[in-house]
């Protein structure tokens, strides 16, 4: 396959990562080689490998979804292709990408790598950080996106920032086209569509931070 990232983008990433990356970031990638089972696994894998070439602090570990059930279990990987990010000490940063982080979502992936290399250093308002202090039960945020949706990265980034700041929160990007059954289950037909705790709550749209957090918290409080 020809290179997926343009020379220009590679150069941009080399510069950016050179400036921004502090410590190592480990990316666990779960795939299958069976095209029928995972149409886009090889695209995803190649993109990650090209990404790893831009800076030595990015480590990619490739795992087979079907053969490595222990790992799949440990990280509760549900589908593939899946990207999971760990910090330098191997801690799960609770960030997931299901499906290829392509189109506009590519920026989100890059920003996550940078944030995690800085130990989960993300910007959130003090009000949000205070709210997160009170979270003490698991919250799963699945953000359904399409790669051509310009409003989606904001929602994914928000979910994943919350995840990096609270050990109870998991922030997932789900590429809706690649997982039609799951999209159907939640009746997703406009994106970004955010599903909270497997349907306990949901909302649509890229909301500003306070409104996003409010939506999430309303579900948790109601529980």
């Amino acid at each position: 396959m020809a290179a997926l990232l343009s020379e220009e983008d590679k150069k941009y990433l080399v510069d950016l990562f050179g400036k921004e990356l502090k410590s190592k970031v480990k990316i666990l990638f779960f795939k299958s080689d069976d095209k029928d089972e995972c149409q886009y696994c090889d695209v995803s894998r190649q993109m990650l490998e090209e990404l790893a070439e831009t800076n030595e602090k990015i480590d990619i570990e490739i795992h087979d979804f079907n053969d490595e059930s222990e790992l799949v279990e440990r990280y509760k990987v549900e589908m593939m292709p899946a990207v999971i990010m760990l910090d330098k000490d191997g801690n799960d940063m609770r960030v997931r990408f299901y499906g290829v982080p392509s189109g506009y979502e590519f920026s989100t992936l890059i920003e996550d790598i940078i944030a995690i290399s800085k130990g989960g250093d993300v910007e959130l308002s003090s009000a949000t950080l205070e709210m997160l202090e009170n979270v003490d039960s698991p919250i799963k945020l699945q953000v359904f996106v399409t790669p051509t949706c310009p409003y989606c990265p904001k929602a994914v980034a928000m979910a994943q920032k919350l995840a990096m700041k609270s050990k109870y929160i998991q922030g997932e990007m789900v590429e809706a086209n690649e997982f039609p059954e799951l999209s159907m289950r939640y009746n997703v037909s406009s994106v970004p569509h955010i599903i909270i705790n497997e349907g306990a709550g949901e909302f649509v749209g890229a909301l500003p931070e306070d409104a996003f957090v409010e939506q999430v918290m309303s579900v948790v409080k109601g529980a």
């Binding site: 189109g103 308002s125 409003y151 009746n187 037909s189 931070e209």
Partner: protein
């Protein structure tokens, strides 16, 4: 369209005080930013969604000079790259509150940051206007959509309707015709407002048809959209039309809430400026779709941006 797009990257600096803060990274604001950065003014662009603005929402642009045909995403990308090249700062933040009265303007964002600037340019653009019929809100996100590039893929091989007769409606209808099984355009008049070349293209598409002199009076269904009720405006007759999706392109509402009490707006909320793009409030400018103007396109937004940027240098002489 590039498969992996980096235009959304913010290069936030921790700096909070600027010469110029531009709210919204649409073509107008980015054009301003290019000019102010070249004038060596410290410039920050705030963007709540994606750099490049609404042009990201369209599949193809064919009327911006210099590009016979370019995807909206790519054009947006070029605007952003151009601004970056001259050292413009970007922050992925939404302006939530603004104090524009004094010589130093203050802008609070959703991340809780407060920025200051001597000059503020509002480039907040517009949002799609709602149709205002029963079912529209109920089925919003379950078949009702205002963004074909975002949501079109959910209607693969299914029939959809497009409501409206302007450029956006017809262009997005053409885009949808490549994904959906059938696109029915519903228009309240007997001819389209869209550019002639776009009309001609649409009329040739086999799976696109037109309901003239028709308005949608209701959107209905079960879990998601299943039909729309069409009223013939001449005969008053109502018919039921089966569809899986309704894409609505019936005009724009300006994003001017943030400043509606500070600057002058017209009855629809569009910001009123002088010919230099400056509002009644000194040092506060408006450019692009959010401004009261006669044409809302990329080329006019960019032109507004240049005019504003050149005028505002008077505050720094």
């Amino acid at each position: 369209m590039p498969m992996f797009n980096l235009s959304g990257m913010s290069n936030e600096s921790k700096e909070k005080n600027y010469d110029v803060v531009i709210v919204g990274a649409g073509p107008g604001g980015l054009s301003s930013a290019i000019y102010t950065a070249r004038a060596k003014l410290k410039t920050l662009v705030l963007e709540k969604a994606i750099e490049g603005g609404q042009i990201n929402l369209t599949n193809m642009v064919e009327d911006y000079p210099g590009f016979v045909s370019i995807s909206g995403e790519e054009l947006a990308d070029k605007f952003v790259e151009h601004a970056r090249e001259f050292g413009v700062s970007f922050a992925n933040e939404e302006a939530m509150e603004m104090d524009l009265s004094g010589d130093v303007k203050k802008i609070k964002t959703d991340f809780g940051n407060e920025y200051t600037a001597k000059v503020v340019i509002m480039d907040t653009g517009s949002n799609p206007r709602k149709l205002g019929v029963p079912g529209e809100d109920e089925f919003a996100n379950h078949g009702v959509s205002y963004c074909a590039v975002c949501d079109g893929s959910f209607f693969k091989d299914k029939p959809v309707v497009v409501i409206g007769g302007g450029d956006s409606a017809i262009e997005e209808g053409i885009y949808l015709s490549k994904i959906s099984s059938k696109v029915s355009v519903i228009h309240r008049r007997d001819k389209l407002r869209a550019q002639k070349i776009v009309q001609e293209r649409a009329f040739k598409i086999p799976n696109m048809n037109f309901f003239w002199n028709s308005v949608v009076t209701e959107i209905g269904g079960g879990n998601s959209v299943e039909y729309v009720l069409l009223k013939d405006v001449k005969s008053g007759k109502i018919t039921k039309h089966s569809t899986s999706g309704a894409f609505i392109y019936v005009g724009l509402v300006p994003n001017s809430k943030l400043v509606e009490n500070a600057v002058e707006t017209d009855d629809h909320g569009f910001i009123i400026t002088d010919e230099h793009m400056e509002t009644k409030v000194k040092g506060v400018y408006a450019v692009g779709d959010v401004r009261k103007t006669v044409l809302r396109q990329v080329v006019t937004a960019a032109a507004d941006g240049a005019i504003a940027a050149v005028d505002l240098t008077k505050y720094f002489d």
